[in-house]
């Protein structure tokens, strides 16, 4: 049974907060790479283009061909743009689908966040400081 209008806006705000946290964690991983390469201008530009493409920011994911979409099901990028928008505008979702989407988002957030902490712990050992 589809849920009432208005309730999905509440879930949309929860979902968008989690998607921001996932995006921040990926950003943090790219930022920590600066300990190794000393400048990340090109890397962060490349990351922005790739995330925008793979998460459905340029073209919505339902327009992609079938076999590509099956690959995207296993990638964390669709939790950034696709899932909050899906919760907001898809009329056929019931409460189980929304809870499932939020669970997938929280799972990917925990995975990427712990990865970023682990990476930072490793990068901390070779920190370099100039001046000061």
């Amino acid at each position: 049974m589809p849920i009432n209008k208005g309730i999905n806006i509440f879930f949309f705000f929860i979902s968008i907060v989690i998607s921001y946290l996932i995006y921040f964690s990926i950003d943090f991983i790219v930022g920590v790479t600066a300990f190794y390469t000393e400048s990340i201008w090109g890397l962060s530009m490349t990351k922005d283009a790739i995330i925008l493409f793979l998460s459905g920011g340029v073209i919505p994911l339902p327009l992609f061909p079938e076999n590509l979409r099956r690959v995207f099901e296993f990638l964390p990028f669709k939790t950034i743009y696709h899932m909050p928008i899906e919760i907001l505008i898809n009329k056929n979702l019931n409460i189980e689908n929304i809870i499932y989407s939020l669970a997938v988002q929280i799972f990917w957030f925990l995975v990427i966040f712990s990865l970023s902490r682990f990476y930072y712990k490793h990068a901390e050992t070779l920190i370099k400081m100039n001046g000061g």
Binding site: T37, E38, G42, L43, M45, L63
Partner: protein
């Protein structure tokens, strides 16, 4: 007048040399950003081709017409970015 033109031409090349030096200061990031520029442009073309896999045309505009317009805009944009960006 030509004297002035030559002066500014020399100045332009000096600025370009400084710009390339400052870009290549971080060697690894320079190579990554070169690859990233290519990837970014390829994703632009790829998104058009994926869009037209599922729909035949947009208000009568076909895939090849939109590719022509995309390339035509790059003819203007890329010399600008190649010669005069960040100077």
């Amino acid at each position: 007048m030509w004297k002035k033109f030559n002066y500014y031409l020399k100045l332009y090349f000096l600025f370009v040399i400084q710009d390339i030096k400052s870009k290549m200061q971080y060697r690894i990031d320079f190579y990554i950003s070169s690859i990233g520029m290519i990837v970014g442009n390829l994703l632009g073309i790829l998104s058009l081709s994926i869009l037209f896999k599922s729909i035949p045309n947009i208000l009568g505009w076909t895939y090849y017409e939109l590719l022509f317009i995309y390339g035509f805009s790059l003819i203007v944009l890329s010399p600008l970015q190649l010669f005069f960006d960040n100077l």
